[in-house]
Each structure stands twice: as C-alpha cells, then as structure tokens.
Amino acid sequence: MNTIENKVAAVPVTEELSLVRAAKQGDDAAFEELVRRYDRNVFRIAQHITQNREDAEDVVQEAFLKAYGNLAKFQEQSKFYTWLVRIAVNEALMKLRRRRPERTVSLDEDIKTEDDSLPREIADWSPNPEQLYNQSELREILSKTIQGLPPGFRTVFVLRDVEGLSTEETAAALDLSVPAVKSRLLRARLQLRERLGRYFQKRESGDGIQ
C-alpha cells in the first residue's frame, strides 16, 4: 500500500519573504498579493473550524487585518503562511467560543478514553466511494461528518491533511507539541474514517479488530 502523497504545492519561501518585506515597507500592493495568495486557504481553515460561513468570512478579514497591523512584529523565523494560519486559527476559535459559550472550546481538549478511536466498524468500502454520490451530496456528507469531530481534532486534520502543513508547522501554528499533533491527527483520521464508513461501505460487516 502506498503512503499518501502531499499534493499541496509549496510556495517558494524567498518569493513570499520578498513580498512580506515589501509590505513591511508600506507596499500595500505586496500585501494584497499575500492576501490573494492565501485567502482561499484561510477561508477553508476558518470554515472547517467554525462550521459557519459568516464566521469564516469574518475570520478571513480579521486575520489579514491583524497580520497587516502586526507585520512589523513578524520575525521571519517561520513562513509568513504559518504565522498567518496561527492568527486565523485563533480568530476562528474565538468565534466558535462566542457562538457556543456553553461548551469549552480549546485545542487542549483531549481524548476521553485511550481507545475512543479504535475501529469498531471494519467493513471495506466500495471501490470508488466518492462516486456513489453526486458532488453536492458528497460535500454535504463530508461537511456533516467533519462537523461531528471536536474542534481540536478537526483543526489538526484540516491543517495537516487538507492544507498540507507539516507536522512541525501544524504544531507551531497551534502551539502544540509534535506528539500532541500526531495523537490528534491519528484520532481525527480514524474517527472520520469510521463516520464516513456509514456512507461508503460495502454491505457486508467485518468481524472486529483483534
């Protein structure tokens, strides 16, 4: 079995850095180019976390505005994108907290039991599961499924597996340790797999994990 390929193209760091430096000097066209480069990513991340379109739009605006206002403080020790993601994740989590004050929303919220993610459903999926549904049904399923994950899990999943950040970059963006990122990622992946199985599996059941 092959490992997964990272299809997210890396932006040349030097090019990004020259835009950042120009923006720091007051070149707004350079900053606008950075917006153009990363607005889609920030929107996707924000909507994965907040699960709300209006909140995601606000996060895009607030994250870029904050980045603009704090550009002088950006030390250039990480990629600008990682720094921006960190700002966006914080803004998104704040939105979520405001919307759900009754529930604690934290990246530190962890795992209830050691084996909450152990596979219970082992049945194999249809050969091309995504073709069982049309585009909009599939999006609905994926959206509903990821919504069921705790925010801390879906945040790690979207940064690592959707946006293609490395484990180290994800850890830096979320202020988590590398082992914490790995543990959340494993659980997020296994929980999503289990939930998607309801839609994608063949109709025979497996006989449980040993």
């Binding site: 079995m1 490992t3 997964i4 299809k7 007051g26 707004d28 900053f31 606008e32 917006v35 153009r36 607005d39 889609r40 929107f43 996707r44 909507q47 994965h48 995601a56 739009e57 895009v60 605006q61 870029f64 505005l65 603009y68 206002g69 152990l118 596979p119 082992i122 049945a123 194999d124 999926w125 599961p129 995504e130 599939l138 999006r139 994926l142 959206s143 990821i146 999943f157 597996d161 959707v162 293609g164 484990t167 790995k182 990622l185 494993l186 992946r189 296994l190 999503l192 797999r193 998607l196 199985g197 994608f200 497996g206 006989d207 449980g208 994990i209 040993q210």
Partner: protein
C-alpha cells in the same frame, strides 16, 4: 506486531515517516491482517477524499469583495496610525 501497535503507527506510516524496520513490520502485519489492511486503506481514502473534495471553496465574487474590504480596512488602519 499486534493490531493496537499497528494503529499507533498508522499515521506515521501513511505520512511515510517510518524507519525501514518498522515499516517492514507494519507491512508484514498488513499482509496477513485483513482488518488492519481495510482500516489502513479506508483511512487513506478518507484523507484523499477530503483533500480532493474542494469543500469550502471561496467563490470568486465573495473573494473579491473580501479582498477589497480587507484592503480598505488596511488603508484606514494606516491613516489612523501613519
């Protein structure tokens, strides 16, 4: 290798960051344990489906509206604190 140990290494395996020895042990486990093979395969599909899904794409009209709102606010910020 037991199934639980396999699961612990699953993320490292899918990310291709295992040393040769552990990778070999894992693949040996996969060759006879059908359940773990299915879990591994469907987890990989889960990741690929999300990655390729274009979920939450930013529509172009909204994108330009957001960008111009951002740049307007940046200008105001600059004027307020030159």
């Amino acid at each position: 290798m037991k199934c639980a140990e396999f699961l612990q290494e699953l993320t490292n395996y899918l990310d291709g960051v295992l040393d040769q020895k552990t990778k070999g042990e894992l693949e040996n486990h996969l060759s006879w344990c059908h359940n773990c093979y299915v879990v591994c395969d469907t987890t990989k599909k889960t990741i690929e489906i999300y990655r390729d899904s274009q979920l939450y794409e930013l529509p172009e009209d909204l994108r330009s509206r957001l960008r111009s709102a951002i740049m307007t606010k940046c200008q105001e910020h600059k004027k307020a604190r030159p």
